[in-house]
């Protein structure tokens, strides 16, 4: 594999000089990007850990802290906000399961049924990614208006007496989960589509030749073969959904009692300037996401995705 684009011209003899030259080029290519990520990704995470251990400064000025080893921030974060953390996981998990249930047939339709119609397949893919091209915040606000108390959906449901006259949809957990499901559906569909698009239909024929029922064919052939797509799709939804603070914000689809961990972190960081507790919560969130994700990835035997 050492046919370097720059690893020496045709006359360069393989030797110490060429090897030195090669390693210099590799360094030149890698260093700028790696240093950039070290400064803007690794260092901030270290800074976050240091911040999460800070104590209020002795002069008690708001937003002013000194370095220390104050584990109390984690105690505060876990004691005060455990219900919020639980709610975040519940909402994100529900939305992930919903995107999977709603998205799988769609991915199957695009990847398998539309295979014979390449033009329709491309059109369907454009439709799936179309929401990415319009502001995430405006999309979410559009749902808020549509489901608002004066909006068409609530009026319609009230006219059918399916909803009491003083009922709201915006500000409820239903609406937050709806928003998360809507906003992350394309993230689930695209990887599942990629897996299903590669599915060799001859396996399905073989299964039916062996007298497998439709149901057995699906569970024992189609689904296992599409598992890598399912795993990356659900991760692409679950990880950002857990930390999301748009859908659950009262200015968008949420209410006062639907706050997710992201809302609390944002509030503490940017409004209350309570940096240490906000940092402690961010660390807790990251660990709380990485552990189940690691278990999930190893349980589904899809480590090579990473």
């Amino acid at each position: 594999m050492a046919f370097g684009a720059f690893a020496g011209g045709p006359e360069a003899a393989p030797g110490v000089a060429a090897a030195q030259r090669k390693s210099r080029i590799v360094l030149l290519l890698l260093l700028p990007g790696v240093i950039y990520l070290a400064i803007t990704y690794v260092a901030p995470l270290i800074s976050l850990v240091l911040t999460s251990l800070q104590s209020p400064s002795p002069d008690l000025a708001i937003g002013s802290y000194v370095y220390g080893f104050n584990v109390g921030n984690y105690v505060v974060a876990l004691q005060t906000y455990a219900p919020v953390l639980g709610r975040s996981f519940l909402f994100a998990l529900t939305a992930t399961v919903l995107t999977l249930l709603i998205g799988y047939p769609l991915a199957y339709f695009i990847g398998v049924t539309l295979r014979r119609f390449p033009l329709l397949q491309s059109l369907a893919l454009v439709l799936v990614i179309a929401p990415f091209f319009i502001s995430f915040l405006l999309r979410t606000l559009a749902w808020k208006q549509i489901f608002s108390d004066e909006g068409p959906v609530v009026s319609f449901l009230q006219a059918l007496s399916l909803l009491p006259h003083d009922a709201h949809l915006t500000g409820t957990p239903f609406m937050v989960i709806f928003g998360l499901t809507y906003n992350f559906l394309p993230f689930t569909v695209l990887p599942m589509y990629t897996s299903l698009e590669r599915l060799d239909l001859r396996y399905l024929e073989a299964a039916s030749d062996l007298y497998a029922s439709r149901w057995n064919t699906f569970w024992r052939v189609t689904f296992p073969l599409s598992l890598p797509g399912v795993v990356s799709g659900t991760l692409l939804t679950f990880i950002p959904a857990t930390g999301d603070y748009i859908n659950a914000s009262p200015s968008f689809l949420g209410g006062l009692d639907t706050a997710m961990i992201g809302n609390v972190i944002e509030q503490n960081f940017l409004v209350l300037q309570n940096y240490p507790v906000a940092a402690a919560m961010s660390i807790v969130l990251m660990v709380a996401i990485l552990i189940p994700v690691a278990i999930y990835v190893s349980a589904t035997k899809t480590e090579d995705l990473l």
Binding site: M1, F3, G9, L37, F133, M286
Partner: protein, 265 residues
């Protein structure tokens, strides 16, 4: 064929899901034509005023300009850094390769709010003022990994014999790079650039933590959401939407035309 979903059921179902996916887009575009005075919530009749007076609201216009500027700057830097890493990963074996792969994967797997909180605490601890420069720096960070993934896929599919041919014809390493490797990588770099710009342009979660009082379009929408958003925000969003769709259609048409030409040749 047994073992497959019934054709018509899944087709009708998919059309319904597509329709629901498109509802907020239609709503946003429709309300860019609303004759709204101050808050753009209730439909008051059709007008083109918001489109003709696109910069009547100076704050929206400024936020849009900031988003475009940050997007272009972040895309250029991320593409340069990311392409270099992608080339190194495909063309060379080196120590710490696995560590580098993990370093590139982590920013994509870390929840955005943790990235934002980390950057914010770093800026606070170092006493650095938050502005559009810090926003751009943050956007480059989360774009690099996506650039590497996209360009690497393209670079891995290239035939190394082409570069060897360039060297056999006495091309200097620089000539071989600029006249063989780079043109061949270009489709991957263009795709990575479009992706980076889209990610940067629509990012709010991280921007909110590193922008201080500076405003990008999503930040402006977030602040204005509580009291009502002027229709010009919808105009800018619709404009970008139609440009993006046009770009996607143009790229797929060019790709289809090229494939046809190759098949004929």
């Amino acid at each position: 064929m047994s073992g497959r979903f019934r054709g018509w059921g899944v087709a009708v179902y998919s059309i319904v899901v597509f329709a629901i996916l498109l509802v907020p887009i239609g709503y946003t575009v429709l309300f860019s034509f609303n004759d709204a005075r101050r808050t753009n919530i209730i439909w008051r009749g059709f007008t083109l005023d918001n489109w003709t007076g696109i910069c009547d609201d100076a704050r929206v216009c400024g936020a849009f300009g900031a988003s475009i500027g940050v997007g272009i700057a972040a895309t250029l830097v991320a593409c340069a850094l990311g392409t270099a890493i992608a080339i190194a990963l495909v063309r060379f074996r080196f120590r710490f390769r696995n560590a580098l792969t993990i370093l590139l994967f982590l920013p994509m797997a870390t929840p955005e709010i943790v990235l934002g909180a980390g950057l914010s605490s770093q800026l606070v601890n170092l006493g650095i003022e938050k502005n559009l420069v810090t926003v751009t720096i943050a956007h480059v960070m989360f774009c690099i990994s996506f650039v590497v993934v996209t360009v690497r896929a393209r670079a891995a599919s290239l035939d190394p014999a082409l570069e060897e041919a360039g060297r056999d014809l006495y091309g200097s390493p620089a000539q071989v790079f600029w006249r063989v490797t780079f043109p061949l990588l270009l489709p991957g770099i263009v795709a990575a650039a479009l992706l980076s710009f889209a990610l940067s342009f629509d990012d709010f979660i991280i921007t909110n933590f590193v922008s201080g009082s500076a405003e990008t379009l999503p930040k402006y929408i977030y602040i204005a959401a509580a009291r009502g958003i002027p229709a010009q925000a919808n105009v800018f969003a619709s404009l970008i939407f139609f440009l993006a769709i046009a770009a996607v259609i143009a790229i797929s048409l060019i790709g289809a035309a090229r494939r046809k030409r190759l098949l004929r040749a």
